[in-house]
Amino acid sequence: MTPSRRAGTLSRRHFVRALPLALLATGCAAPRQGTGRPGDPIVLTLLSHYASGVLKRALQGPVDEWNATHDRVKVRTRAVAFADLLTTFMVRQAAGQGADILHPYCLWNGQLVQAGVLRPAPSEHAEDITRGYGEAAVGSASVGGKVYGYPTEVQTYALYYNKRLLRAAGIDRPPRTWRELEETAYRTTERDRYGNTLVQGFGLSTYDDSTTVGQTLALLNAAGGRFVSADGRSTAIDSPAGRAVFDLEHRLVVNGASAPGVNVYQAFPSGQVAMVISAGWWTASLKALMGKNYGDVGVAPVPVPEADDKRATLSTGFMLGVDTASAYPREAWEFLRWLNAEKMSVQSAEKGATATRMSTLQVSAGSMTGRADDMRTLLGKEGDPNLRPFLDALGYAVPEPDVPGAQQAKSLLRKNIEALWTGQQSVDAALRSTRRQVDQEMSRPW
């Protein structure tokens, strides 16, 4: 008998046949959560959009700290650009390669819960979240009254204004009511003889969802309106408040105070927009872009229709939740609690001051969390005064709707707003069309 034919010995032919199968099996069974051998650490994956720059570094700091101080459970971060985040969730989930911890935009929560991707927070974590965060942040991280994760960055909307342009128009303070807003917008607008906009009084921009839908919803909330009804099955925009917002925006465009074609993210830092409604994250970008001219930037609460109206604005946000497919949900929630709820001392603040790691990392990246106490500690007295209105808004902001189909409802609203701004639709037609289209989508049996 030749050695190759001896029992228990692998012949060359067998080896060649077995190799592809072995490789395939190894590939399919590649351990993504550690080796699986007893005693080896569990490796949790965290998929977020903190793919570059300051945010990536800010998240990696606490993750490294966790990995250095915990032997049994390690965390590995994976990041993709925000534009690819939802697609990546889908593709990886469908392929059975979903991450243990997901960092979704709260607008998608209804969709993710409906698809069975997000695991509800265990009761002790849910209580922790409800107790520790503002109402808007908890609302963003909840679907149907059930909490699904720890809110991370929370963005509220406020009015950015250029003090220099307002002063030049003889206006010494930001508008508080819609009447003042319009008057300020008209007085600050400048055009050349060819009709090119030199200065927009009020920046309405078709640039992205944030500039188109975000500011419209902030104004809608300020007028006491809501985009989605309480039961989440229809839109509530075709209301007196919705009509008032569409009317206001239509007037601003028709009278030349707004040029929706101009990208406000470029025009405002260049001094070509007097006022615009946007979220808090923009302050950090403006600081970097404008340098010493950032001193011209002021921030005020979103104006309300009448002086004695109750303040309200829009809040949007992200949260960290656990995938239903995770083999180690308990460990994942434990890590999230450590990152989002455990307090640690803040060196820059007064003695004894504490904040969560997430709050610290968000502030270091020029953003905020929904923990108002942390924000007050971290922003301190020396912080950027322009962040104060956003911080105050945490108390009265209305969370962006996150029901199933919310993303499509938002896109439909955007299309109709743009059609209104560009004269394709009247105010009545835009309201009717938005209601019909959004209701059709939201009433679908998902």
Binding site: G116, V262, S411
Partner: protein, 321 residues
């Protein structure tokens, strides 16, 4: 000397003669079977590729077009019959108007502009020196990424951009090319046509080279002018190339959305929304893979019909693709 066959040899020969046709048939069958196996083995990689990357996705898309699926869990595919197709054409749906209409206008506009322009440019190039250089120059947009092309044109169309600057220099007012719903789609069509000039010019200049010079000489002897020569000689002889360019450009136009996503994202409103963009949004943004797949099949039928119609029209005129 003649060797007489032995009785045994004669018997064997007779037996071979009587078994010959059967054995030959058996041998032939075996040979054909062997050839079939070999042919199948040679074809296997291609067929496997075809099955994995075409038949399988097509079957999956067909399944999805009659199901609801959010895109996350394959176990969550729920059959819904023809609901997705019904929804596409339901009252109030934007798929037929304006989305499909825009798609056809976009493709048609691109073909008309690109074909007209490329015929003129190719004819000019055919009469110039350094033809290779000119072809390369016009081919450059093809090797440039859509994102770069879209962004450069977007800046050129801006209210303070190059195009408006030129208009202002001429004393004309500015045009909000991409912000005005009336001009947004034509503006994008111009860019798409410009970007697809290169390949059309390449095909047409090759076609022009194949036109025999004797035809032009005969026409010159008959005193035909350049317009008559172009109309009666160049264009008819270019017809196969024109057919190819026409079909390929139209198909590209019907399916493209990258330029639109870069330049307008389908806006303002839905002024530049096209079927492929709508499909992308439905699937990847809204998690409605059923509607996206149904839309894909509708687009497939449209593409098939348009292609067959083009082939039929050209065949009636005596040309094959």
């Amino acid at each position: 000397m003649v060797n007489a066959p032995s009785p045994a040899t004669t018997e064997r020969a007779q037996s071979q003669r009587s078994a010959g046709p059967v054995a030959g048939r058996r041998g032939g069958t075996r040979h054909r079977r062997h050839q079939t196996v070999v042919a199948c083995l040679f074809l296997a990689p291609t067929l496997l590729f075809f099955a994995v990357f075409l038949i399988l996705p097509l079957g999956f898309a067909l399944l999805l077009s009659m199901s609801h699926w959010a895109g996350f869990d394959l176990g969550g595919i729920r059959p819904v019959g023809l609901d997705n197709f019904t929804r596409l054409f339901a009252d109030g749906s934007t798929f037929l108007v304006p989305v499909l209409t825009h798609t056809l206008l976009f493709a048609l506009g691109t073909v008309v502009l690109a074909l007209t322009g490329s015929v003129l440019v190719a004819t000019c190039i055919d009469r110039l020196r350094f033809q290779g250089m000119w072809r390369t120059v016009y081919f450059l947009p093809i090797v440039t990424t859509v994102v770069a092309v879209g962004n450069v044109w977007k800046y050129m169309y801006e209210p303070g951009g190059l195009v408006n600057g030129a208009l202002n220099t001429l004393g004309l007012g500015s045009v909000a090319f991409l912000q005005d719903p009336d001009t947004a789609l034509p503006s994008v069509v111009v860019v798409q046509a410009w970007a697809s000039f290169g390949s059309a010019i390449l095909v047409l200049t090759a076609g022009l080279k194949s036109v025999p010079a004797s035809y032009y000489e005969a026409a010159a002897l008959d005193g035909a002018g350049p317009v008559v020569v172009f109309r009666d000689i160049t264009l008819p002889l270019l017809r196969p190339c024109l057919l190819f360019v026409c079909i390929t450009q139209f198909l590209t136009g019907l399916q493209s959305f990258a330029l639109i996503i870069v330049m307008t994202k389908g806006g303002p409103g839905d002024a530049t929304d096209v079927a492929a963009l709508e499909m992308y949004q439905q699937a990847f943004s809204y998690g409605d893979w059923g509607t996206a797949s149904a839309a894909a099949f509708v687009l497939f039928v449209v593409v098939l019909m348009v292609t067959l119609a083009q082939l039929w029209i050209f065949r009636r005129k005596g040309e094959d693709a």
